[in-house]
Symmetry: C2
Subunit: 299 residues, 2 copies
């Protein structure tokens, strides 16, 4: 029958679209993707209860499931079932999902994509206009021995034309402790989500290595986003990198976090809108005027 690729949207089970819910309720197998992103509130149990689905129809799908068992997933659709792959945000956020769609098409299986909001457009909740964002950049957790800085080149490119940058912060799922790995026990650590302070530390460290002068703690403005779209739980915090790095981590709220680096083409309306999120409103305006050369009304 049909292979559905359905976006779950930003935060809660009620963020799916009506069309998405209807499709979901027509499916006998529902794969819940849980490696490119995770919504802490969305588990097989909460989905089943919220949408009135049999729990047995919901299958957690890790990377191996989606990448290695895509033929089996699609086979079910070929045999007459409706099958869904549920993805946090919008289904086209990650390459993996275009790959399974391509395979479905090649097998002649009807496909339907149900779009939703993703952080890639909802990052405009920062007050920065979507039109002025450059390419999106992913930050991975640094370790003692692995600190890849190639993302910095992308930041330099965006900065060279004055654009904002959305930084997507790493998620680690299904990590094994060294002991469990050594003993071959498939016991996984709880997921880890990179938070805004860690992201900023890594940015400042990288600037120290690469020295492009694009990330200056006292002069570079940024907006931290947490749980965008989650109503009361959404937190948006604006400031210089220094202010954000020194803030009490609790101001940033719970994961998922992301971070917007403000580009030099900052507009007065953006300054004004994000000012209400600023840790220090006076300094936010001062840096916008003195460093970013934004002309603001003084009243």
């Amino acid at each position: 029958m049909v292979f559905y690729l359905i976006g779950l949207g930003l935060a809660s089970p009620s963020d799916i679209t009506l069309a998405g819910q209807k499709a979901l309720q027509s499916c006998s197998s529902i794969y819940l993707e849980s490696y490119t992103s995770i919504l802490p509130s969305t588990t097989p149990e909460s989905l089943a209860a919220f949408h009135n689905l049999p729990l047995s129809s919901i299958i957690p799908a890790h990377r191996e499931t989606v990448e290695l068992e895509s033929d089996q997933i699609l086979q079910k659709a070929k045999e007459g079932e409706n099958v869904a792959l549920l993805v946090v945000g919008d289904p086209f956020g990650a390459t993996t999902h275009t790959d399974i769609l391509l395979r479905a098409r090649k097998s002649g299986i009807p496909t339907r994509v149900i779009h939703n909001a993703s952080i890639m457009n909802a990052c405009s909740a920062s007050g920065m206009q979507l039109y002025t964002f450059g390419q999106t950049v992913s930050l991975v957790f640094f370790t003692e021995t692995w600190r890849p800085t190639s993302f910095y080149d992308r930041l330099v490119e965006n900065a060279s034309i004055g654009l904002h940058t959305l930084l997507l912060l790493d998620i680690k799922v299904r990590e094994q402790s060294e002991e469990n790995m050594a003993r071959g026990r498939l016991i996984y650590e709880p997921p880890r989500f990179m938070d805004i302070p860690t992201a900023i530390q890594q940015l400042i460290w990288t600037e120290g290595e690469r020295k492009g002068g694009i990330l200056v703690p006292e002069e570079t403005l940024a907006v931290g986003l947490s749980q965008v779209g989650a109503g009361e739980n959404e937190k948006i915090v604006a400031g210089t990198l220094k202010e954000l790095s020194e803030a009490d981590p609790s101001v940033f709220g719970e994961p998922l976090h992301s971070l917007v680096l403000v580009g030099k083409r900052l507009h007065p309306l953006e300054v004004e809108y994000a000012e209400s999120f600023a840790l220090n409103k006076d300094n936010w305006r001062r840096v916008a005027q003195e460093v970013y050369k934004v002309v603001l009304d003084e009243n």
Copy 2:
């Protein structure tokens, strides 16, 4: 009570989220924004019928309504009503909507934004990865006497770092004929939507003026999108600018149209995915290889 800013999503009334529908049904005044974008299928009548709302609660909101009467709109929320402003796509697509939100906050009115998919993230249906898009560019209808080409600078910037560009095509609503305007009759022409062939003509004309060498009819790849998210009515067509400009206009489907210009950082997976949309698959692959220097598997 609450001022809601609610995204309608991409195409049909069922593209609203469950949270959006619930909010909508709690509102006594619902403003349907109809100037930054329009969904041909979404009228006050279709919305009222679909969501089981009294037709009298839905108020079409033109530019003047939202920009000049925002205080009255917000006053209702202040006096204890729930009020919604409904916007095609995601609410943060246009600056106007951040402006009304800012005013609401300044008046101490609780606000809630309900995000949705917009063309700014659903453009990934083109097969081009969202990560590799640069800034978004709007194309306005050229007239005999007004052909602004400043947008070309933005295309040059994106091209300079190899990024894809989403082009949003103009919509004209509430235009008056010269006769009606001369007679002071408030009779408006039907909305006009820029289509993909017109956009490409304007691009090629602009290249002729500006001569940056970034838009070469036989060598620049693009993907035309129409009614993204509308299921059967969605059309995606890929090719060189020349192929797209010479195609039978009916292949592009009904409005809304938009256009993705493919950047030089084109990835083999993107070539492969979009190949299924290509007017001429062989030429699509040839240009990807010879002009964009993408290394493709030959099988």
